[in-house]
Subunit: 403 residues, 2 copies
């Protein structure tokens, strides 16, 4: 294995510093503003954004920054408490004001500053509060700063989400990849209010970074589903400081880096699914034997997002009919006579109903992590998706979010 | 108006009789088997079926019957308690056995008998029980027989669903259109476990009936969403006895009939939404100003099926951001600067956030029927969708369905 998980966070890769504070953008305690900076000024960066047509102002501003800078970012400013979405031209002005404040503070052009926001849609961003808090931020490295930053982007998340790996690039070279994320509500394929920031000290060119990020996001973050509502603000950003040194990655070293990036994204995706609003179980859906990887992803995602599957898991009911029916409506090619369905390690359907130990299957559904497997026996496409059970707590959390 | 709602059910149109009984296909009291027959033998019929690839055996058998008979059906047998889905070749044999029993009882060829089932996926159909119950059925007309039949197809429905209209066809001719339906769980575009049977005494040719049914189902049943899980068994069937007499419908009389068919389907769709599992509110989403009717339908359906919109209604929270965000992710073209959103009669977003009376908007969300309106201001496409709020009761019902 060229990838090794390590304890760490956003500044584990060399060349980055981070700081967080409470700017007062939301009620309650804890930090709500964080600033991530690159030591060496603007570095190669790539991002993927929500497909929602109601894009938040910070998404618009960051998309333009990436284009104008040709993928070179020197700082990221992110806040919780306010999504700055549905705020019209005023919202764009506010996001640009924050971008300019950070650019001035760091000493880079505006186009090298990336912004992200999460929280309530439709309320105005507290630019003055951010302006007041920015000078107090002293970016640094280490576990404590990393964890504070991960906390500063939380909304209804119950735990901060971080991941870090070391990657053996070959030839005696080692690089690090790390990230932090927030998820919880509004999580779905096409990225529901999810922010993820990734760093690496490997030397990767912007175009290469973009290609690798897209492929990785399709297999990880876009396969996480909590409630089917992709948000206005979803953003995944990766920055590559190149501080590890050496030549730009190519061939086997690029492959090793891609593996590290996927490991970090997958860990964050799993943490997001496990912390879905009101969730008691993470649901890992594994699909093999589909006609293509795309169809495998579709089946996995549809099963993981089915309300009836989610409630069946919540009730520890090994109702394979709901799993098969969700697969059947996914749009992927499927033959009921070939399909096999597994709950944990127990086969519950195999081309036709089979006798199985219902109590053992029910026990498998009571675990912290519930595995559901489907073998379509039509081809070689495989994929994973991550979801969570649907509980009465989800309803309570979302019925009372604003009040 | 050429369409007038009347009290009535499946035998309000002339030429049909119905009967229901308890065959013991499920535990609990009440009828679970019904038989609808055409007095004059096979008559023109058309149907739409689930798009789920895991099609139940009765769906397969009925599709073949319609093809083999060139759209001429003489009897419908429907049961609750068992979906006969995911049952492989055995399931097909069982559905065919029931079809043959009914064909013999009525005196028509097998291909003129339509079958439908609803209930648990994966369990075997009790053919012997159906064989035992069939001879006791004496189809008749009238409110009592109609209501018993509507009850015989209920699963987790709390009330039977019926609708009937009289249609003025012009030239002194009057026809009737009526129907019964079941819905409740697993309801979604592409028809989630929903059965609907429609009758009319207007003279309509099979091809004409098929065209009219498809267009109507797209605007009504396919716009109902309870939990996003289309089922294995969804079926909408219409039969035209022609008992009203006269020439086959064309021109204005065909238009009047189409209006009557849509009125019946829309009423049944509304009843299904209002009776969604655990629902306390029906949500009517009305979209205007879309680039096309198809895009309007997409927006209406996406808003009505959003878990975050459903929980906001449940909590009486006028959170327009969730409505706008759902519209934004629907796939339809949308410009946030033009979009207007309304809750009840209160405008809550109009190209930008607007001040509004939050208490009045919250009151509008407490009604039995909650109206949500969106004006996209991009074109002339309009559509409706019907949904319901998401309550803790939904979770309870679906966590405990089997146990």
């Amino acid at each position: 294995m060229s990838v090794r998980q390590v304890r760490g966070g956003i500044t584990t890769p060399r060349g980055f510093r981070v700081a967080a504070t409470r700017a007062g953008l939301r009620s309650g305690p804890g930090p709500d503003l964080c600033l991530l900076v690159s030591d060496g000024g603007p570095v190669p960066a790539a991002a993927t954004f929500t497909k929602n047509r109601l894009r938040a102002a910070p998404v618009e501003v960051s998309m333009r920054a990436l284009r104008a800078s040709r993928g070179r970012i020197g700082a990221v400013v992110a806040n919780a408490g306010c999504a700055n979405a549905g705020t019209g031209h005023q919202g764009l002005d506010d996001a640009r004001a924050v971008q300019a404040l950070v650019a001035k503070r760091i000493g880079v052009a505006n186009r090298h500053v990336f912004t992200a926001s999460t929280g309530l849609i439709g309320s105005r961003l507290g630019v003055d509060r951010i302006a007041g808090a920015l000078p107090t931020l002293a970016p640094t490295t280490g576990r404590r700063a990393d964890a504070e930053a991960a906390r500063a982007i939380m909304t209804t998340d119950t735990v901060p989400k971080e991941a870090a790996v070391e990657v053996d690039l070959g030839g005696g070279r080692t690089a690090r990849v790390a990230g932090m994320a927030k998820g919880s509500g509004m999580i779905h394929p096409q990225m529901g209010t999810m922010l993820a920031f990734l760093t690496t000290d490997a030397p990767v060119a912007p175009e290469s970074l973009r290609d690798l990020l897209r492929a990785t996001v399709d297999r990880t973050f876009n396969q996480v589903t909590v409630d089917g509502d992709p948000s206005t603000n979803d953003t995944v950003l990766v920055m590559a400081s190149g501080a590890e040194g050496g030549a730009e990655l190519a061939g086997a070293s690029r492959g090793a880096f891609a593996e590290g990036l996927e490991a970090v994204c997958r860990s964050l995706a799993e943490q997001i699914a496990a912390d879905g609003e009101g969730a008691q179980h993470r649901i890992d859906v594994s699909v093999i034997g589909a006609r293509s990887e795309r169809e495998a992803r579709l089946v996995a995602r549809t099963v993981a997002s089915s309300s009836l599957v989610k409630t069946a898991v919540h009730g520890a009911d090994p109702n394979w009919g709901r799993i098969a029916a969700a697969a059947g409506r996914s749009g992927a090619r499927l033959d009921p006579d070939r399909l096999a369905v597994r709950i944990g390690s127990i086969t519950v359907y195999d081309g036709a109903p089979v006798g199985f130990d219902e109590r053992a299957a029910s026990r498998a559904l009571r675990g912290k992590v519930v595995g559901i497997g489907l073998d379509l026996r039509l081809g070689k496409g495989s994929a994973m998706a991550w979801g969570c059970d649907l509980s009465a707590d989800y309803v309570a959390i979302n019925s009372e979010y604003r009040t």
